[in-house]
Amino acid sequence: MTSVLKALGVAVPSRVVTNHDLAETLDTSDEWVRTRTGIVERRIAEPGVATADLAVEAGAEALKRAEVDVDAVILATCTADRTIPGVGPEVASRLGLGPVPALDVNAACAGFVYALSVASGLIASGVADGVLVVGAETMSRVTDFGDRATAVLFGDGAGAVVLARGEPGEPGEVGPFDLGSDGEGADLLEVPGGGSRRPLDAAALAEGAQYLKMDGREVYRQAIRRMVASSEAVLAKAGLTAGDVDRLVGHQANARILEAVADRLGIGEERRFLNVARYGNTSAASIPLALADAELAAGEQVLLTAFGAGMSWGSTLLRWPDLSVA
């Protein structure tokens, strides 16, 4: 018994913000952003649009295409609509799924891979037969658009898949997983304010504690190292090597990080997929958004790997099924 991917759906805000747009108010340039990150543009949600709204849109598309019943929802996000409650229950209700179990997973940019593993666990333990897994973020809500180091990096969006019980070797099979974390790096990438450690009082707001802060160099270094090690670990668990991977679909944070990871794994350019140029870093939404754009062929062995705040990281394998993603 295993978990199998049955359907995929995505949603992004219609508003496109280019590097040139950002350079009008920030001391940066299109050339600088492109060469450092590979990002050309990103989507930004209109005021009033929340993470749940994007999640519902992506989730509805996935459900429409899935020919199975869904009886649980896992929502991967680090930009929930509010501190309490989680987004999952609202998304389940708005999608008409009834009183199913629904919960959020916050592993930041590694959230989608973590959520896939939680969904597989629910299926393996018999709690659920079909799980809607959504990665949804409105990163723009925690971005300081006056900070040129981070303002150019992030975007908003959502992607959803349906996992269902299946047989080993079946098209769409997901797993095994390699997951990890290192809390010693918690402050390398964080939104310091708004939680129990640093409530958002006037002083915290004046300091900008509601915004994301990043030690870019150290995150860059750790991202490469951890995603390489995690990819190698998951391949070893599956009895495979990098040579068996048809396509590497990593978390889309920075093109140069993914190039460095693929180089170290020995995965050539034709087997890598990048769409960070279109969406920037959409955190937990980036992997499903990439899967939707990657034009994968049925039967291809896909390696997913992600790294982000926590620090948290994870990798898994996916045997691409025959499904429409248009």
Binding site: T35, R36, D215, R217, E218, Y220, R221, I224, R225, R256, A260, D263
Partner: protein, 79 residues
Amino acid sequence: MSAVYEKVKGVLVDKFGVEESEVSMEASFEDLDLDSLDLVEFALAAEEELGVRISDEEAEQLETLADTVKLLEEKGAQA
């Protein structure tokens, strides 16, 4: 030239696509068209290839290959 220098040169040529003829002790990272992220990656590659860790603070101070080789040798790099 030291063995550590030869190793550094090898990393720059193989991993960063630098022309061998451009590499010299006096060359700066800027001369070689390496930006701040390349320097982070260079530090990672040095750790992988030479087994010594260059911190981000140390990497930021490096300007020329001579500085780099000196730092690596002080840290006990064995080529």
